[in-house]
């Protein structure tokens, strides 16, 4: 059977090869042949999903946004022109440097973009501190330059940076924060915590939600009743105040890793309810379906039915909920960190970067420290777009 099938597939592919050659007369015959030849290979589930997913432009954009942030987060050291870990109080609150093109102040022509260094001066009339461009020397922005040492993924030592300027110059395209750290590099790095924590929290919540949902739907009876009441209770609880109360209970002295894990767990304990409900509904309808009946008749154990037959069928829903839970956790986490009851230094997240904006005076003079908002919006929007497209794609057998 399999040999036969592969033969047919092989002949099919040879047909295709022939198609590529413009033979003029033979072409119509092949087209007819292709039409009458039944397709032997059915598209797999993942192929169907991918085909549907590809059709939705919005979700492609969403996926691209998410991937960009993930990429920036993983290779933050590479994308940052300077080291991520240094503190330079002399460079505190430098505004975003303007990138110039073509001819500089000295009449010199530049092929690529260039920047001027920022110097610290006092306004002659108001005596306010201000940063101005030092137009005496222009620094070309070079790509793939060698700079400060870092380790890719914490292992491979490297000193290549995506862009940078020659020795003596500095480039901060989004400006610097209170400690003189490059906001662009830091915001890229902050994605590591913001994204991994939300993903970690989501995975825990999915473990809880899918187990409770499957148990509730599959066993029914009193188990279902108890679990449903419990789910209802958790849903009715005010989530944001509870997140805040629990996060505030994490001792200030706890080490970073503990804080990270505890925060993720806090988000997980209230986020599983939607998933549990959806999975329960799906399992309820699947339980009576023929293939589950058949499996039961053949004497399959409960665990076999649950893990081999039910789980794969609810997986699509789980993935959709995953993409919708992640942004919810990103939003909550950023708010808690912004308030100072979430992630604390030395870890860094987008919300924590916003902490300085609480002081209206600091914010008033240095409005560029709002930059992390853009990263958050891209992340949340990206996941929402992605989830929206996946929701349609996850059930490719549905007739529209």
């Amino acid at each position: 059977m399999s040999a036969e099938k592969s033969e047919i597939i092989a002949s099919g592919s040879s047909l295709q090869q022939e198609m590529d050659i413009p033979l003029g007369v033979a072409q119509p015959d092949i087209a007819v042949l292709r039409e009458v030849t039944p397709q032997f290979e059915n598209e797999s589930y993942s192929q169907l999903v991918w085909r549907r997913f590809r059709r939705s432009k919005v979700s492609i954009v969403g996926g691209f946004m998410v991937l960009t942030l993930v990429f920036l987060a993983i290779f933050a050291d590479f994308f940052s022109p300077t080291t991520l870990y240094g503190v330079d109080l002399k460079a505190s609150f430098i505004p975003p440097q303007q990138v110039h093109f073509f001819t500089d102040a000295n009449g010199q022509f530049h092929i690529g973009p260039y920047v001027y260094n920022m110097v610290y001066t006092l306004n002659p009339t108001t005596f306010q501190v201000m940063w101005v461009e030092d137009t005496k020397k222009a620094y070309d922005i070079h790509f793939f330059v060698l700079g400060s040492e870092y380790k890719v993924l914490g292992i491979i030592p490297m000193n290549l940076h995506f862009f940078g300027v020659a020795e003596g110059g500095a480039v901060h395209i989004l400006g610097t924060d209170k400690f003189g750290r490059d906001l662009w590099g830091k915001a890229s790095e902050a994605g590591r915590i913001s994204l991994t924590m939300s993903l970690f929290g989501t995975i825990i919540s999915i473990l809880i939600g899918s187990v409770l949902g499957v148990a509730s739907g599959y066993y029914g009876g009193w188990i279902d009743n108890v679990l449903q009441r419990f789910t209802e209770f958790v849903t009715a609880f005010p989530s944001l105040p509870l997140f805040m109360a629990l996060a505030a209970l994490i001792p200030k002295t706890a080490d970073s890793f503990t804080v990270f894990v505890l925060m993720a767990c806090i988000f997980a304990i209230l986020s599983w309810t939607t998933l549990a409900r959806e999975v329960r509904g799906k399992v309820l309808s699947l339980r009576e379906s023929d293939f589950i009946m058949a499996a039961k008749e053949m004497g399959a154990s409960d665990s076999r039915i649950i893990f081999r037959h039910l789980y794969p069928n609810v997986l699509s829903h789980i993935i959709v909920i995953l993409t919708l839970t992640v942004p919810a956790i990103i939003l909550t986490e950023s708010f808690l960190s912004f308030l100072g009851i979430g992630i604390t230094e030395p870890l860094i997240s987008w919300g924590l970067m916003m902490r300085n904006t609480q002081d209206i005076q600091t914010l008033g003079q240095n409005s560029w420290i709002l930059a992390p908002i853009a990263f958050m919006v891209i992340a949340v929007l990206g996941f929402n777009f992605l989830g929206d497209g996946l929701r349609d794609a996850a059930d490719p057998y549905a007739v529209k």
Binding site: A236, P238, A245, L331, S334, F338, I360, M376, V377
Partner: protein, 331 residues
């Protein structure tokens, strides 16, 4: 129906007990009991060891902190129900019940206003975009609603605060009224002044609600518009407006009512976030300060209050829906 409402109330009552227990656990979770926290607070404030220890013992006796946990819980609940006493806040030197009573009216006014505005605007937009499915207006509003729900609310609040304070130089942002109205009686001018101060909260908390209501209404209306009786109405020669507004919309509204119960927590959370950033004297900043100071009776009691508000909101939505839609199953 009475039976159904009664059962809903009984369920809500049990939920209430559950919420009470969780709130009480939050009060109990910090290391040491309340009395020792209070002692630490007094010592930090420069009280002598002797005074602090005496105060600690006084508090411990007064609140029965040496009794078993269950007894303490019953005592706490009894205090709330019979005397309206939620526990003592050391930062404010008052009972938490008094603080809550001071701040809850404005919190509720803001949440309910935001809720009402977002429902009306959201449903209106839903009705507007549903017949224009996949048209320009539909797509534009879909994208706007996506963006609105994707921007962190606290950062929107920061941006508005920045504009108000730095660009417009507006004074008294962190209060409900301008100074001249604080002690004045209620008048039209005072209400206008109040709106000038609370609009950022209404806007930010409401925006997300608008987006959600719009999406739900659009979906419902599209479902209803596909049903046969709508086709019948059209084939009678009714104007499309009449078909939509008189025939389809009333039947699409039920889900919106049922959905209101889940929008309320969203509004309260929005109010919480924005009020903390702006520093408006509602429950939100009180809750946040209490969490930072470890003023546990405030945080625990407010958790309870938030839970009760949401519970009542859900209950009202359920009851209202059962009155509105007799087809609902009471099993």
């Amino acid at each position: 129906m009475v039976n159904y409402i009664f059962r809903r109330i009984v369920i809500a009552f049990f939920m209430l007990i559950g919420i009470g227990i969780v709130s009480f656990i939050v009060i109990q979770l910090p290391p040491g009991d309340y009395a020792s926290t209070y002692k630490g607070y007094l010592l930090a404030r420069g009280a002598t060891e002797q005074d602090a220890t005496r105060a600690e013992e006084l508090i411990r006796q007064q609140y029965g902190l040496d009794k078993p946990i269950v007894e303490q819980f019953i005592g706490w609940v009894k205090g709330i129900v019979t005397e309206g006493k939620f526990g003592y806040s050391f930062a404010y030197g008052k009972d938490v019940g008094v603080l809550i009573a001071e701040r809850i009216p404005m919190t509720l006014i803001i949440a309910i206003l935001a809720h009402a505005i977002s429902t009306v605007v959201g449903v209106g937009l839903g009705i507007y975009v549903a017949p224009r499915k996949y048209g320009i207006a539909d797509n534009v509003w879909a994208i706007i609603s996506f963006v609105l729900t994707s921007v962190p609310r606290f950062s929107l609040a920061i941006i508005i605060l920045y504009i108000l304070v730095i660009d417009l130089k507006q004074p008294s942002v962190s209060s409900f009224f301008s100074p001249q109205f604080v002690f004045a009686g209620w008048s039209f001018a005072k209400v206008v002044d109040m709106f000038q101060h609370i609009w950022p909260v209404l806007l930010i908390a409401g925006l997300g609600g608008v987006a959600r209501n719009m999406r739900v209404m659009r979906g419902n209306l599209l479902d209803v518009l596909g049903s046969q009786y709508v086709q019948t109405a059209r084939s009678k020669g009714l104007k499309e407006e009449t078909v939509i507004l008189k025939h389809a919309v009333p039947n699409a509204l039920h889900t919106i009512v049922a959905y209101q119960g889940t929008v309320l927590p969203y509004m309260l959370a929005g109010e919480l976030e924005v009020a903390i950033v702006l520093g408006l004297p509602t429950l939100g900043p009180l809750f946040y300060e209490a969490l930072v100071n470890g003023d546990i009776y405030i945080s625990g009691s407010l958790l309870l209050i938030y839970g009760v508000l949401i519970l009542v909101g859900n209950l009202l939505a359920d009851i209202f829906l059962s009155v509105l839609d007799p087809r609902i199953r009471y099993s």
